[in-house]
Assembly symmetry: C2
Homo-oligomer: 431 residues x 2
């Protein structure tokens, strides 16, 4: 009997011949075979399993987790106040809010233009901003706008969502476990050898994903390097998906906060932004994507396509969460969230300086909450994961989990508490 076929006693008793005929010519629905191409284990699930197996075998051990990029500090008071206030509004018929406008509330979009883009002299209008439930959703969904036969290029190592969402969309070909690469994806290695700056690929891609400051390496492209990419995209008819989730951590002057600081970006770049790391919204869920109206292909505006997707498959971020986002960009909110970012950056500096002091080779941590650690003695990144787990009881993320060029590296995050960060380093020093 075909899988999924459920015997119907009623059917068998009443129409035995029909039941047999149907079974013979049985054609079932088919699943999206692109989904089954994905390797079974998501990086962070594999880590979670390894960690819990270790915890079970060693229940007395107190682990410090500097692995997954989740924040630990509470929401700032300005955000808490805005949430309470808007919750009260939702409890009252006169101030209740139902469905939000498709693009998001104007109070939030206008404020973003004023507080995020105008200070950068970036030419952006409020109706080019689409408020969403987070940068992860947007970076996973944006590929839908492009043809299935388009080729994507990613830096290597890379945030897994860019590739996985394109695998699901059928753009990546087949996976070769020996190389750790998808046959139809253009990989742009970012390693210490090229200063973590991707070179223009030999084959021209259609869609280029750039995350700057970078996850996982914590390194950056400066404004001239990013301008080269914008020029490359305009010259070659590419779209850049620019993920600026970590821009709040930038400390150096020549690192761009937005791709729209570059000339010509409005005709080739979509920018994705997050409230997760600049304001601790990982459990609140808010982000946005900016699709300039200048991006037009064959007479079709990508802004219109994204609007259509928003209108069809999404129903807005919660009113109270959009009010919370507005409060992040109040004067008081900005003062408070910047303090929080400074707290995490103190962790980043502590990790980086301590590891350097111990003689290790480390990157990142200056404009990003991520430290990219060259594994000592050419250990593989998974071996180093086990080594750090068992010798120092510290959990990090193996670089190989982010792509083949991540092999030989290891990611630590600055999102723990300061106390945990300091004791993790003490343990590493003693291991």
């Amino acid at each position: 009997m075909p899988s999924g076929f459920v015997e119907s006693p009623f059917l068998a008793a009443t129409y035995p011949s029909i039941a047999i005929t149907i079974q013979k010519g049985f054609i079932m629905y088919k699943i999206n075979s692109n989904y089954t191409k994905l390797p079974g284990n998501y990086l962070f699930s594999t880590i979670a399993k390894k960690v819990s197996a270790y915890k079970e075998a060693n229940p007395e051990v107190d682990l410090i987790r500097l692995g997954i990029g989740d924040v630990t500090q509470p929401l700032v008071p300005a955000v808490i106040d805005a949430l309470h206030h808007s919750v009260d509004e939702m409890g009252c018929a006169e101030t209740f809010h139902g469905y939000a406008p498709d693009l998001g509330y104007a109070f939030l979009r206008d404020r973003l233009v004023e507080r995020v883009y105008q200070p950068l002299h970036a030419e952006v209008s409020s109706d080019e901003i689409f408020i969403s439930d987070g940068a992860k959703s947007d970076s996973g969904n944006i590929q839908e706008l492009f043809s299935v036969d388009n080729t994507i290029a990613v830096t290597d190592p890379v945030y897994p969502v860019y590739i996985d969402s394109n695998v699901m969309g059928g753009r990546c070909g087949s996976f070769d476990p020996s190389s750790g690469k998808w046959s139809d994806v253009i990989y742009m290695p970012c390693t210490r050898e090229n200063g973590f700056v991707p070179a223009f690929p030999e084959r021209t891609p259609d869609v280029i994903y750039l995350c700057n400051p970078n996850n996982p390496t914590g390194t950056t492209l400066n404004v001239n390097q990013l301008q080269d990419w914008v020029d490359y995209a305009n010259r070659n008819g590419c779209i850049i998906i620019y993920d600026a989730a970590y821009e709040a951590y930038i400390t150096e002057k020549d690192v761009p906060h937005s791709i729209y600081e570059c000339t010509g970006a409005r005709s080739c770049a979509i920018e994705i932004r997050s409230f997760s790391k600049n304001a601790g919204f990982t459990g609140v869920r808010l982000g946005y994507t900016l699709v300039p109206k200048d991006i037009v292909q064959d007479g079709v505006s990508l802004h219109d396509l994204w609007a259509r997707r928003h209108g069809t498959k999404f129903n807005g971020a919660p009113y109270i969460v959009q009010r919370a986002g507005e409060a992040v960009y109040s004067d008081e909110g900005q003062r408070q969230v910047r303090e929080q970012v400074a707290y995490y950056m103190r962790n980043a500096h502590t990790i980086k300086d301590s590891l350097l002091d111990m003689g290790y080779e480390v990157y990142g941590g200056v404009n990003a909450p991520y430290i990219w650690w060259k594994t000592p003695e050419d250990m593989t990144s998974w071996d180093f994961f086990d080594y750090l787990l068992t010798k120092a009881h510290v959990v990090g993320t193996p670089g190989a989990g982010f792509g083949p060029s991540g092999e030989g590296y290891f990611r630590l995050t600055a999102f723990g508490s300061y106390e945990d960060t300091v004791s993790a380093l003490d343990r590493i020093r003693r291991m």
Copy 2:
């Protein structure tokens, strides 16, 4: 110069020959052509434009809107309390919550099993529930799990998201404006002639969308009729996407609250649920989808595929919103939201009884917040829209906007205030 090509003064000056070569062999990224197949105007945008044009021409007119299905009553006190409490938790390091578990918090999933499914004796486990930001997202995204060459069947009229999301996914063929139909979609007419009960289609579909109680007709399948569909799906290797967004409005005993009340549904049915209409969460955003582990096709579990989608393209509903959802299913919350549903149902009964009293032909409104009104004198539904707008200053939704078999019908919703509903009917009586 190809569209989207931006002249680079630097390039032209430095490498004029290269610039020319690139222009000649210029290959640009391509957009997803399925998106461009969608007719330009979304139903509710068209209505909004017509209404605002009328308002502009007649600024003195006070319109009553019984069109779009948005709620108007505030969140109930139990929900407001839960929101305030969880907001306070987010402001404190000890009780702060970052990323939610992929499937949603167990406190909510467990409570849903206990309060929604156990009373129905529906066999469902808590790890088959995926918490999301709403039923619209889930009903738009679920098609991703299926092969592009699968055929969908929808009732006609239908909630537009089922079709539009499949158009974007490339499953619908081409649109014929004269029939109002997509070439590859199986339409199952639901009209007064068949008592709004769809007949099994001649050609076997792969994926069947059923919304019960139905949007837009407000009519229902009883448990025996739904059992027939479950048997049909199991016999023919189909998947049913069952949208139960309006189940809280059911008043008749033989109408199922969940498809899992039917025997065999666990091997063929995915159920989508909403908090929008049972608890007024249209602006709060919470829903869930139940994918039973028994649905396995070619050795692949649809539950695993949906989990993979959730893990890759979504990052959970906000903690505070999941706590609000839990409060909906507290004893106090249930008492309060049921009062709210009763408030809207009083509107539904008022609309239905008044229109019947005036001699009109109306359906729905008994187990659903929608009234499906046969247009008088065979007016087209858009003509009737204009007639009602100009003569009674009441805004509803033309049935044709939901599909060809919606022609000759008109939808009114019960989500206005009682006072507005009563005065809308007074105006209709006098028109």
